[in-house]
Subunit: 380 residues, 2 copies
């Protein structure tokens, strides 16, 4: 293998695939990035077996030569070092030459690096995925769906299935759901697909979706999603992102959201978020993050929290609209803050069915997002 390649394009591809490298690889070869060189393109691959990322560099793009291939071939280079060194090379061009026993020579300007490469034959083979049914979703839409749901996924490995986000597709509606049993986030969207195309119980780890989020550009251009029994493949521009589907059955959450409410309050999102943020600062001194919300006269809402050591914060917020019963409820201020931060609407509706029943938060202007927070049982 021997080639000369533009440093910036090589570096970009390295940074793309590096997101799949584990800090502690289970086998040494997974601490490496596989480089495959043909006369058409240069392909970089990295994997931690849960996720695998491939990034493609065409040898020519828009009439510009990006790589000159002297001899096709493959090698695996240690990721930790390559990720740091390539961007610091002195010249815009980098030449890479692999000789016997995968001895690799990297040259750029007056810098010469000799590295011990690994055998690409030892690198795990990526799953072969049949692409008979492809779902197309605009990149920026997938990003907002990820951002608006991952917050409610569990961070505890005790129930691995809850560390993921559930994907369902039926009748042209794609739905993401996440819950850690204390709160729930769900987001739906219409997608342009055959109504017969459906899947259920596809659960993808929230941390994988966070990595995918960083790779997707903020553009309307659609990305292709291929779903199989145990893998999902995301096809981005010059990037393939493979992820394993989490094992297990996601719990049925359909009955958690009540449909009849005793109290409904419309609030300004930013006002509530700022007040909740201050109440959170006090509440976090106690580990529970408890905040109390009560209706008081004249359409005013009171938010308060206290710490035995520090004192008490009391906030008054004017409701934009208010109907139903008087209310006094306690919940985790951090959970409410997480929700308010990702709702992109100026006003929200908070719906209650008494102090012991789930709290529902949704944007006022649409019902694509629904959030549930379970209240705390408190005395007084």
């Amino acid at each position: 293998m021997k080639l000369t390649i533009a440093k910036n394009e090589l570096n970009q591809a390295i940074q793309n695939v590096a997101k799949a490298i584990s800090a502690r690889p289970t086998i040494p070869i997974l601490g490496g990035i596989k480089i495959d060189v043909t006369h058409q393109n240069v392909t970089l691959t990295a994997s931690d077996t849960d996720i695998s990322i491939q990034s493609f560099i065409p040898v020519e793009q828009n009439g510009q030569i990006i790589a000159e291939i002297d001899k096709p071939g493959s090698v695996v280079l240690p990721a930790k070092f390559v990720v740091e060194i390539v961007k610091k090379l002195p010249s815009d061009q980098v030449s890479i030459e692999v000789s016997q026993h995968f001895q690799t020579l990297i040259q750029s300007g007056s810098t010469e690096i000799q590295m011990v490469g690994l055998d690409p034959e030892d690198f795990p083979v990526l799953p072969s995925i049949e692409q008979d049914q492809v779902l197309q979703v605009p990149g920026e839409l997938i990003k907002s769906m990820i951002r608006q749901t991952v917050l409610a996924a569990s961070t505890s490995e005790q129930t691995p299935i809850l560390t993921g986000v559930l994907w369902n597709l039926q009748q042209g509606e794609l739905k993401f759901t996440a819950t850690d049993r204390h709160r729930l986030a769900s987001r739906v969207t219409k997608v342009d697909t055959d109504e017969q195309f459906r899947f259920s119980n596809i659960v993808i780890a929230a941390k994988t979706l966070n990595e995918l989020y960083k790779l997707i550009p903020d553009q309307h251009a659609p990305i292709d999603i291929v779903v199989t029994d145990n893998q999902v493949l995301f096809k981005l521009d010059h990037i393939l992102f493979y992820t394993r589907i989490l094992d297990g059955t996601y719990p049925d959450t359909s009955k958690i959201i009540p449909s009849v409410f005793e109290t409904e309050i419309v609030l300004d999102t930013k006002n509530l978020m700022d007040a909740m943020d201050r109440a959170y600062l006090m509440s976090r001194e106690e580990k529970t993050n408890i905040v109390r919300l009560s209706t008081i006269d004249n359409g005013l809402i009171e938010v308060s929290s206290s710490s035995t050591e520090l004192g008490r914060v009391t906030e008054q917020i004017e409701a934009i609209d208010y109907k139903g019963e008087q209310l006094r409820i306690a919940f985790n201020s951090k959970y409410m803050l997480d929700v308010l931060k990702v709702i992109d609407s100026e006003k929200i509706v908070a719906c209650f069915t008494g102090a012991m029943r789930p709290i529902i938060i949704r944007p006022l202007d649409h019902d694509y997002c629904v959030y549930v927070i379970l209240p705390y049982r408190t005395t007084g």
Copy 2:
């Protein structure tokens, strides 16, 4: 105590003094910020006994009312919470009222905070410092002297005196010295003072100087420095910064720097820094950070490092000027990088007296800064 004060000014003063709050205060009162209110100004004080910071808010500035004082008084409020909450208050104005047993009520817009204050009588009294002899140094000069020396201070508490920077003043020349026994940094400057005014063995903790650095604005305006037997006081605009002088005698470093050299090489600072950075990336894989520097023919310098696991980096740099013997020397690449990052000159001179003697690095254009790095004894 009762007053109304502009939020931004109060917040700025809180952030200023908060740098003196320890993450784990030795006594509870030191986890607080003392607020003293008179009809002239509002003074905030924080201390971890090693350093103490006072920040003053005048009740009126440039004809603008900053604070309205209803009733003078004092209170100590818990820093951890106050530092976070004040900047998040909803209104531009904050009113603070202290009643019996230091119960404190903070109001801003529709936010009400009740806090348990502490008795200001329990707060340690700041050292009283006689200001008979004051040293004036421009703020930006003190900052550059700090930045150019703290890197060589020790981070090990085994020899506490070496965690500090030595200050000496004699014959109108102020000198900072720091060393961790493996490297040394020194910086001198002429100061405009009585030639009789002198001090020696004033050692201030590097981490204290780093905090001071952040408080000093990037301005030529001089700051006043008062040195006593066990304290140094820095007088900034509206801020007093007190620090304890480290106990012990700083070792004599005057004989470390050789005056006759066998090899002197002039190099471009950035070229050397970039090459050293790449060599460092390889060398850090071995814990020692060893890099080798050799003179080769035609005024070329070779820098190289290797890792048994990864491979080898070799760099060639053209010397701008070169005189003396051929050379081959090994040293810690991180130490060299630290020096090159703070030398603000485009060219440096590296001076050698053989592979086992100290390496001297200094800017080509002046001799205010001198750095020493001890070489490694290596085989081969």
